[in-house]
């Protein structure tokens, strides 16, 4: 009888392990335990990064702010994709389906920014 029950126990245990990190009431980060769920921790980080972005945009005048702000935006996007969209723990096939067109799109955009026909960097 125990052998017949095993598949159910396996499924429930598997599902529980998949969501253990997100269902926990606390978040372990850099060795510390925060008294809030992972989703809330990510939200707080996103909020802090957004405020930082707006302040940097107002303070910095030179073009150095462009890669800086874009870097923060990419980090924020990555946080949402990894934790809210669960790409960190879900199947790698999902990541592949998303990242391949994303990388192609980024390369195409960089190409457009570089070629002379669009007034790009090498045409300046």
């Amino acid at each position: 009888m125990s052998e017949e029950i095993t598949p159910i126990e396996h499924n429930e245990s598997h599902a529980h392990n998949d969501h253990a990190e997100t269902l926990a009431p606390t978040t372990k980060i850099l060795g510390a335990t925060l008294p809030m769920p992972l989703y809330t921790t990510v939200f707080v980080i996103l909020a802090v990064l957004t405020v930082t972005e707006v302040l940097l945009a107002e303070i910095i005048e030179s073009d150095i702010k462009i890669p800086l702000l874009l870097g923060i935006a990419v980090a924020k996007g990555a946080l949402v994709v990894m934790f809210y969209m669960h790409l960190k723990t879900d199947s790698r096939a999902f990541a592949l389906a998303f990242l391949v067109p994303l990388i192609l799109a980024i390369l195409s955009t960089l190409f457009l920014l570089a070629v002379p026909s669009t007034g790009g960097y090498f045409g300046a």
Partner: protein, 210 residues
């Protein structure tokens, strides 16, 4: 004992089926998101090329909007970030067998999405008053309007569709369609909503801050 075994076998089979459907549906949603990524990339690339070649025009627009203009959009950005958080908290509630709590969180998601659309409309009226328009001849900023409205309106349309989908998910949740073991549709809607959030994170930085 045999009845118990049949019950457990049937339950295990159901869970397996749900798991299989969930994985296939999520993969389909990721493929849809991949296609949306390409579409939004075209808008973003067009704006990036415009920005690269017309720094003075973009600076003039930012000057015209002022810090108060940035504040409105920053507030809107917070609304969307908070709605994404509410969305995952709703999913978490359902996974913890608290469907009523999940419905409340999803309600917040729909409400924040609706306010976002309302504020975007308000922003558009403010921009139109400053002669930032779609037409090349009427636009005081030589084409900025078209490069601005196309991605932001397309994104706003996605938020509008997202709010409608959210209301449908809430309706189904109220009818008892979701349990702690079966929440595939909630997760699929979440993927869509978070993608819309990610797009806004990039648009916000690229258009309003850079």
């Amino acid at each position: 004992m045999s009845e118990l075994t049949v019950h457990h076998d049937s339950h295990a089979h159901d869970l397996e089926a749900i798991s299989r459907i969930s994985e296939n549906s999520k993969f389909a949603m990721w493929l849809f998101i991949a296609s949306e990524t390409i579409i939004f990339s075209v808008f973003i690339a067009a704006y990036a090329v415009f920005r690269f070649n017309n720094k003075e025009i973009v600076h003039a627009v930012h000057e015209a909007l002022g810090f108060s203009g940035t504040l409105i959009v920053t507030f809107n950005t917070f609304l969307l970030l908070t709605s994404s958080w509410a969305m995952v908290m709703g999913l978490r509630s359902i996974q913890l067998d608290n469907v009523k709590g999940g419905i409340r969180w999803l309600g917040i998601t729909a409400l924040l999405g609706t306010i976002f659309i309302g504020l975007q409309y308000y922003e558009y009226t403010q921009l139109a008053a400053k002669s930032i328009t779609l037409g090349f001849e009427t636009d005081a900023y030589e084409g900025f309007g078209m490069h601005f409205y196309a991605p932001t309106f397309f994104h706003g349309f996605h938020v509008f569709v997202g709010v409608l989908l959210c209301l449908e998910v809430i309706r189904r949740a109220r009818k008892g369609h979701y349990t702690k073991e079966n929440y595939v549709m909630v997760e699929l809607f979440g993927l869509y909503w978070h993608f819309v959030d990610v797009v806004w994170i990039l648009l916000f930085t690229l258009i309003y801050l850079v």
